[in-house]
Structure formats: C-alpha cells, structure tokens
Amino acid sequence: MLLEVRSLCLSYGKREVVHNLSFTVDKGECLCVVGGNGSGKSTLLRTLLGLQKATCGEVVLGEGLSHKGIGYLPQAMAAQADFPALAREVIRSGLLGSKGLRPWYTNAERQYADNAAEVMRITNLLNRPFRDLSGGQQRRVLLARAFCATRSLLLLDEPAAGLDAASAEELSLCLERIRKEEGVAILLVTHDPADVLRHADRILTLSTDSTLWDIEEVVRT
C-alpha cells in the first residue's frame, strides 16, 4: 500500500469540508476524486502533499514514499504568460526534492528528466520557451515535471481543464503510459466523466456535506 488515509477531517478556513474520510491508494492504481466546487478536493490534495495539516486523523505513507516524493500537477496557473523558462528547465525543477543541497544536476538526473519528457512525447519541445507552447503542451511539460518528482505516486488536479479535445486526448495517453509502462499510481481530481470512465480503478466522491463521501470500485468488463 502506497498511501492510507485514516479518519481524516479537513477544513477550508473555518469550515469543515471533509469529515472522517478513510481510503487507500495501492501501487499502480488510479483513484479518481470527483465532487462539486467546495467539496474539499484541492484541500485533500494539499494535505496529502504535506502543505496543510489535517484537523484530525492521519495520512500514512508506505513503500518508502515521503511527502516530497509525491509528484504534483497543480491546477492551471494564471498570470505567468511571459515567464522566461525553457521546457527543459521546468521539467528539471521536479528533481529538486530528491537532489538535496547539491547546486547542480548530475548526468543521471538530466537523463531522468529527458526520459520523463520522452514518456510525455515532448522531447522535441525541450529547448523551447515554456511561454511559447500551447496549453496542451504546457500541461504535458508540467506533467513531466511532476513525474520527475516521484517514482510511485502522482496527484493531478484537473489536468485536462481548459484543454481542447485533441490536447485532452494526448494528455490521457500520457496518463495511460505513466500507469501501464512506468507503474506509477495516480490520484486524479477531475470534473470530466470521460476521464473517470477511462482511467479510474476506484472513484472517491466528495460532496459539499462533509460527512457524505463515498468510495466505489469500478468494474470493467
């Protein structure tokens, strides 16, 4: 077991958004988290990343995983349209958690980042400025960065939001490669039923009533 959440309570400001939540994420599986705005999805992600404390309950990490070793794709960022950074620089920044205080990247680390780009099929974009890429390409660069930060678990916060159908499809193919070829588990927050149908092994539904949450297995025929 990679991650176990035991009777977790979470608050957003003063309001309790999640009450007494328990679930697990196993190696290589995909857990989809769905629920309306304000149901606590992003708060849950922040807690799993160790950025926020739970009001009660605990998050247990297994298999040598640490908070730093979880890859994270944040929701689409605003207002960085002119940021000067090459796709390569962005992807490599995912390696920071495992790099320690050494001020440069080793060859093995560079290789690892290039491999992440290969998994997302963006090797040809590595030397392009991030600001010149399309929305879908940017999202795949950020996914490669998240992939660099982990060997076992990725948290994705609405990765396909705002993308056109073709870009969303490319992203979905990336997610499949990450799971099937690289064996990385995914916790996917999404609003898109198509994503859930395609990727989910199990579905965690959160609601605006903090006590009403539900987890169900997806049976594939």
Binding site: P74, P84, A85, R92, S93, G94, P103, R128, F130, R131
Partner: protein, 279 residues
C-alpha cells in the same frame, strides 16, 4: 575623453562610486529577476520610500542613519513579501499604503526637525559621489553574500519563482527564501538609494530583467543577461554623467541608459518574433 576619465580615476570618491555601483547594480539585477517574475516589481520603490522615512527619523533623533534604516527596511520587506503571499492585503495595495505613509512621515519629521536637510535631498534624488569607503565595504559584503547564495540556490530560486506551491510540495523552504530575499533586497536598496536616489531605485531592480526577458526565453539566459545589462547600463550611465560637459545627475543618466537598453531589447525581440512567425 580617456584623459578626463583618467583624471577622475585619481579621485577616491569616483572609485568608490564606480565599484560600489557595479556591485549594487549586479545584486539588484539578480534579485530583480525573481522579484519581477513574482510580481513584486514595485517593492523596490516602496522600500526606498520606507527607507526615506526611517532616515528622516534617524536624522531628527540624531542616531546613525543606517542603524535605523536597515532593520526597518528588512522588516518592511519581509512583511510585504509575506503579506501578499497570504493574500490579506494585496501586494500592490500594501506597497502603496506603506510607502506613501513613510514618505509623508519622513517629510513631516524633516520639516519639524528644522527644514530641508541636504542629506535627505541626496537620498531623494541620489548623490553618487556621497558613497564613502564604508559604503563600499558594505557593498562588497552584500555582493559576497548575494552572489554565492544565488549560485548555490539557483535551482531553488527558479522553482520558487516559477511555481511556489509546487516548490513547497517538493520540500523547498519557501519561508526561508522569502526571508533571505527580503534581507538582500532591503540591503541592496539601502545602498542603491545613494546611487540613484529614493525616487529612481526601482530602475536598478526591474529594468535589467524586463530588458533581458524581451530577448531570451530561458531562465538561465535571462539571469545572466540581466546581470550583464544591469552592470553595463550602470557603467555607461555613470561615465556619461561624468563626461557630459557640465555634468549630468548620475541617477537619472543611469535610468535613461536603462530605458534605452529596454527599447533596443524590445525592438530586437519583436523583430526576431516576426521573423520566426514569417518562416
């Protein structure tokens, strides 16, 4: 022309201004990269006004100006950088509030303390030849702190600047960063106020980065180019101010050269973009 430069070289105050200025311009350009990209472009302007208020208070109370200005500005820089991250008072609004209040307080204190004081006027508009040997040592100390830190923490600085939540999730101590940025920015501005004056100090922080961003799309490239532009524009502006018949105010001359460099970079960047779109 070389002759007059050589004759200037004989004057200690010229050399203090030259070396001190180069170091401060370099530190300002490097810190400016992360400040501009994190949308804190106005922090330099705000801090220098706060510094002006602190200096006025020190001069009225008759204590060592730097002993008051440095701690006050470090505290203010930290509050401004942190406050807007927490979103209680938006960054630009907080800067506007604090800077005008402190500038006004400085003016009132100066007035009550016996009218306009030459030293305070120098702080407002800059007086590059007022850099003493002690200031030069302070500039050397600042640069020998900022440059190694920047080199060692370069990748972390990039990560925090590009995407703070992600950087925190990978274990970067963003709070410590904010504190270090605040301290370095405050020290750079205290020294820079002598060079260009309170009213023009922002230029040293923001112009080099904005110019570099027009012509380069990598963070590494922008960092190096902005350092080069910052130092180059300082030297050119300073020498121009000295050589111009009758002299020019050095601070304004440095800003003018920076503005010219920005126009050139913006033009060059636009031409390259159009060519690329054409092909």
């Amino acid at each position: 022309m070389m002759d007059s430069l050589l004759s200037y070289w004989e004057i200690p105050l010229f050399r203090y201004a030259l070396f001190g200025g180069v170091l401060v311009a370099l530190c300002a350009a490097l810190l400016g990269t992360t400040l501009v990209l994190r949308r804190f472009s106005m922090i330099g302007d705000g801090l220098s006004h706060i510094g002006f208020g602190a200096l006025a208070a020190a001069s009225v109370a008759n204590v060592l100006p730097m002993a008051v200005a440095i701690p006050v500005m470090i505290a203010a820089a930290f509050l401004l950088l942190r406050g807007s991250a927490q979103g209680k008072l938006r960054g630009d609004a907080a800067v506007a509030l604090m800077s005008t209040t402190c500038l006004a307080a400085g003016m009132i204190l100066t007035y009550l303390g016996g009218g306009t004081n030459v030293d305070l006027m120098n702080y407002l508009f800059g007086s590059i030849f007022s850099l003493s040997q002690k200031d030069l040592w302070l500039a050397i100390a600042l640069a020998s702190l900022v440059l190694p830190c920047y080199g060692l923490l370069y990748h972390r600085i990039f990560a925090v600047t590009f995407d703070e939540p992600f950087a925190r999730a990978t274990g970067v101590q963003a709070g410590a960063f904010q504190f270090a940025t605040a301290v370095f920015t405050a020290l750079t501005i205290v020294l820079g106020m002598r060079l260009t004056g309170t009213l023009l100090i922002s230029c040293l922080l923001v112009f080099p980065t904005l110019s570099a961003m027009r012509i380069n799309g990598s963070f590494f490239g922008v960092t190096l180019i902005s350092a080069a532009i910052g130092v180059g524009c300082f030297l050119l502006g300073f020498v121009l101010a000295c050589l111009y018949p009758g002299g020019l105010p050095a601070g304004a001359s440095i800003v003018a050269v920076n503005a010219a460099a920005f126009s050139i970079c913006a033009g060059a960047g636009e031409i390259v973009r159009r060519r690329r779109a054409h092909h």
